[in-house]
Amino acid sequence: MFERYVQRWLAWAADPEQALRAPLLARSPLFSGLPRRLLARLGTRFLEKSYNQDEIVFQEGDPGRALFVVVEGTVEITQATPKGEYVLRTLGPGDAFGEIALIDNFPRSASARAASLARLLILYKTDFDALMDGNSQITNVVMRNLAHLLAVYARRTPAVVTDANPAPKTGNPP
């Protein structure tokens, strides 16, 4: 009897939104491998926002200041080409995008659009930096995941273009 009341109270005292964030982030390739305790801490830094279908999340050339994680719905990553818009990736729940903004200050190199009604978690770059500065485990795991993701993109993406007129080499190769 008493246990049942305690369980009901504990269920009421729990924040369902925060409770769902850690498992969702655990599914993301960028944060996989982080212990649940750190995922829960990471989850408190995110802000949630809804997007209507076809609403632009960000556009190519915008300054990148945040990382996005899909909670619900689908998001398309697109790039403008002379022949029209080219869909690079379609993302679903748990997928993260905009991760390059976390490591440099370059503008966005592609656009993101909600392909259906979507809910996204947004992490501001400085919050992410603060968390990384305060915890080396988060830094190690996320940087390893990020390097892995970048390697995957570099291998499979046709958008990697080398300079047509490279600068002349100087000095001897090692």
Partner: protein, 352 residues
């Protein structure tokens, strides 16, 4: 929105702000209180505890701490205050007698100075005792205000702590998508700067207040608890706060028989040591990297704050100047990023 409606809305907001001007101080103090407590609630968020439960539990703990603190420190502070209030008229009379004698002597020895010297007698009685403490009705009114603040500040802070994340989330949800990242950046930077500054200043004040209390007690200065508490509170005001603290302690030493100039020297050395410790050891740990203002800009902002809003202006001058600086930095960074890294010119590309 049509210009007429915009004007009407602005006018309505201005009228409401004017009507609610009495709430500015309680709301300001509630914001400070909420910023001090917010890291504990972020920790509770990580444990997925409902905000209302976490804030309620935190308030229960705080009330318990206040009761224990009141039992331990309350009698000392009350007895020091009562003793000071009893002694004040006699102290004022004595200092007035000394001051009047000095003025008379100066006037007799240098008649040319007579025009510059203040006329009349009983300056401390008139300008410190009567103005500072006033009549008993004023005292009751001030006590009523303090009691109201003690109720309103935790009340507003409770709702700020409980509902602020939801309010921010709703505001962001209503923003057009193209403004989300910049708005989030500005909000996070402002929130971070204010939060770190407020928590740093409060912690700094606590440490300085404790050091001053212990130091004054060791130097046998009367009323160490009251003067230490004053030093901690005054420390919130940059530059002028520490000067006020040393002036108050020095005045107390001058008015106490048997302390003499040696006592004033001890107090000056004590506050100098505390100031050096504060600048070199305490502040780097408490306020640390939250404020990156040039010293000249810092002093200028305090002076401007004093002219605009008095003591409150001096307190909020530094965070306000820091906010302005951070906002300008963000906007300039925005422009720089767009100008410097034109993607069409870059030789290599990676997605997103």
């Amino acid at each position: 929105m049509r210009p007429v409606w915009l004007l009407l809305t602005c006018a309505a907001i201005a009228v409401l702000a004017w009507l609610g001007r009495g709430l500015v101080l309680p709301v300001f103090l509630a914001i400070v209180f909420a910023y001090v407590l917010s890291p504990i609630l972020v920790w509770a968020d990580a444990l997925a505890i409902r905000r209302s439960v976490a804030v309620g539990a935190l308030y229960a703990v705080l009330i318990s701490v206040l009761i224990v603190g009141g039992v331990l420190l309350g009698p000392g502070i009350v007895s020091e205050t009562a003793s000071l209030m009893d002694r004040l008229p006699a102290l004022a009379q004595r200092s007035d007698r000394g001051l009047d004698a000095v003025v008379r002597e100066l006037a007799e020895s240098a008649p040319a100075l007579r025009r510059l010297l203040p006329e009349g007698e009983g300056w401390v009685q008139r300008y410190v005792i009567n103005r500072g403490f006033g009549q008993s009705e004023d005292l009751f009114e001030q006590m009523g205000h303090a009691f109201l603040l003690a109720i309103l500040v935790p009340f507003f802070a409770f709702f700020l702590l409980r509902d602020m994340p939801r309010i921010i989330a709703r505001a962001m949800d209503r923003l057009p998508p193209q403004h989300v990242e910049t708005s989030l950046a500005v909000w996070r930077e402002i929130n971070g700067v204010i939060g770190r500054y407020v928590r740093g200043v409060v912690l700094d004040g606590l440490v300085v207040g404790t050091l001053a209390t212990v130091g004054l007690w060791a130097a046998r200065v009367p009323y160490p608890l009251l003067l230490g508490a004053f030093a901690g509170l005054a420390n919130v005001v940059p530059f002028f706060g520490p000067l006020l603290s040393v002036a108050a302690a020095g005045l107390m030493v001058v008015l106490t028989p048997g302390q003499g100039l040696a006592g004033v020297g001890r107090v000056a050395v004590l506050f100098l040591i505390i100031k050096v410790l504060d600048d070199t050891v305490i502040q780097p740990f408490t306020i640390g990297r939250s404020v990156h203002l040039h010293p000249a800009l810092l002093l200028g902002s305090v002076v401007v704050g004093n002219h605009a809003l008095g003591v409150l202006g001096m307190i909020i001058a530094v965070p306000a100047a820091t906010l302005l600086q951070e906002t300008v930095r963000l906007l300039l960074e925005h422009r720089r990023v767009l100008a410097r890294h034109d993607l069409r010119r870059s030789s290599e590309r990676l997605i997103v």
